[in-house]
Amino acid sequence: MMGHGYAAALPANPWNWVAVWRRNYLAWKKVALASLIGNLADPMISLFGLGFGLGIMVGPVEGTPYIAFLTAGMVAASAMTSSTFETIYATFGRMQRTWEGILHTQLTLGDIVLGELAWAATKAFLAGTGIMIVATALGLVAWPSALYALPVIALSGLAFASLAMVVTALAPSYDYVVFYQTLVITPMLFLSGALFPVSRMPRVFQQVGGFLPLAHSIELIRPAMLGRPAVSVGLHIGALCIYTVLPFFLSSALLRRRLMP
């Protein structure tokens, strides 16, 4: 897999990917409003439903109202789901026809993958910041420390897109990507402390949770949004970077095998 011709799967230069990003942006612009509403509605409904509904029962969590605790988790979770869905559904749809055309130009497979990841991260950023803006209006966000959350949302989007790209590269059809959604993404939501603190869960779950990319993302986003000092910042950023870089090379190699046999 790493042998002859692997260069064709790597980005040719640091800027080629922009053309792919711009293609996706142009297509998105035509349906921007519907896309924004769709992307925001789902997490907002969960947020209000759980935040106000459960919030009455559970009282303060880790010294903050439950809905504020939950908002920070939902920002990270929506970055995860929007960049994951973009990659396993929309990118999967572009992989055959659209990519074939692009591969006939001066772009390499790596340029395309990078452009797609950057685009998915952009959509994650829009979804995450959208929730932050609404939550700000409700007085749930501590500014200006919440500014630190913005680059973390983008990096999380990149990491989840990169992981999902491996699934896209391997899945024979849409039916298979559903496994990733139900067996990986949904459990991650519960194990990473997005909806409730993991400190009360069995120890083994806590240990597993500590490795998950969403947990690292939340450990950075939540303190920033609640105006608290974050701990082990370097570790969490490093983990998210590893979750971005390693799957990128893996998916590029897998896609080369799939599309350029």
């Binding site: 002859h4 011709g5 064709a8 040719a12 080629n16 053309a19 792919v20 711009r22 293609r23 142009l26 297509a27 035509k30 026809r97 659209t98 074939e100 055309g101 692009i102 591969l103 006939h104 130009t105 001066q106 772009l107 390499t108 599309l259 350029m260 046999p261």
Partner: protein
């Protein structure tokens, strides 16, 4: 239907000069003469290497246990139109994919526009335009947006694109459709847009995989006329096709492939002369086996394709006499064409 290929089989312009397209001025037709095309291959040595657009040397490729391309060698001179003919599964599409660096060969050497492929395929692709077998236009975009977006993949600036897009729309006769969505275009228009898109980077070489498959005759003739125009501008074209008429009209040289190997190569008319060399009598409407037995003594050779018999011999009149009085038979006597060559070499029709 055969008038277009009349002419001296030794003339270097024969493949294109005889095609009197009303919209193709005479001076363009005369420009179609390929520069030294067909006389180049390696026999003449290194001095011509720089004028080779494509050089395949002993290229093989297999998928699993299936050998798709088997020790293939051919060259295409700059400015030439070269055709790859063959039944489905002969390896035509795999060859075009290898030329673009989309598929690495298992063995052999590929040079395209002076660059080794796939090692430097990306650079080569910068000077190549591709018309794929199946349209992969961006359905979400308009005609103009398709060209703009595609140009960016070649690193072209918006300003540079704005300068070339109008002339490409004109070339593709799509000026009035510039802001129409691709989904609203007819098959012929989509094909012309794909051709215009392939020209966005002003390529020296065009690689076309069945450029007119699925088009109606009018749309097909328009594409052919556009391709001749490109040849007159000095572009090199390599195309795969199912259509013998397309190959006869456009190609200076062609090769017939079967199971990944070349079974015949040359100029269309030379191939026809060499392989057939006489008029053809087509008979259909009866039991081909019975008819075949009956006329066998009066012809040199008979090919059967579906329910049609193709009879080759110096004296078709004799066959006609034998069949006189038989009701329901349809006979057609015509000059030979590439279809006959193909039938003879592969023993079956093109579409089989």
């Amino acid at each position: 239907m055969s008038a277009f290929w009349q002419g001296d089989a030794n003339s270097s312009a024969e493949a294109v000069s005889g095609a009197p397209s009303p919209s193709l001025p005479r001076e363009i037709a005369s420009l179609c003469r390929p520069p030294e095309a067909g006389r180049l291959p390696s026999a003449e040595g290194d001095k011509h290497i720089s004028t080779l657009a494509i050089d395949l040397d002993g290229v093989s490729k297999s998928y699993g246990n299936k050998l798709v391309v088997n020790g293939l060698s051919f060259t295409v001179a700059a400015g030439e139109c070269f055709g790859l003919l063959g039944p489905n599964g002969a390896g035509k599409s795999t060859i075009t994919r290898m030329l673009l660096g989309m598929t690495p060969p298992d063995s052999g050497k590929i040079t395209v526009l002076g660059m080794p492929v796939p090692a430097r395929a990306r650079l080569a692709r910068g000077r190549i335009g591709v018309v794929p077998q199946f349209d992969n236009l961006d359905l979400e975009f308009t005609v103009r947006e398709n060209l703009l977006v595609f140009g960016r993949y070649f690193g072209m600036s918006t300003r540079a694109l704005k300068a070339v897009v109008p002339s490409l729309l004109e070339f593709a006769r799509l000026e009035s459709k510039a802001d129409a969505r691709v989904g609203a275009l007819s098959g012929g228009m989509k094909r012309r847009l794909t051709l215009a898109r392939a020209l966005i980077n002003d390529p020296q070489l065009l690689v076309m995989d069945e450029p007119t498959t699925g088009l109606d005759p009018h749309a097909r003739h328009l594409i052919w006329e556009r391709l001749r125009k490109l040849l007159s501008q000095g572009k090199t074209i390599i195309l795969t096709t199912h259509f013998m008429e397309e190959a006869e009209r456009l190609c200076n040289r062609l090769c017939v492939l079967e199971r990944g190997r070349i079974i015949a190569e040359g100029r269309p008319h030379a191939l026809i002369e060499e392989q057939i060399g006489c008029d053809v009598l087509e008979i259909y409407g009866g039991d081909p086996h019975e008819l075949s037995a009956m006329i066998e003594p009066f012809v040199q050779r008979i090919e059967m394709s579906g329910e049609t018999l193709f009879c080759y011999g110096p004296d078709p009149e004799q066959v006609r006499m034998q069949l006189q009085g038989r009701a329901g038979l349809r006979l057609l006597q015509r000059p030979p064409n590439l279809e006959d060559v193909f039938l003879r070499l592969t023993g079956r029709g093109m579409e089989n």
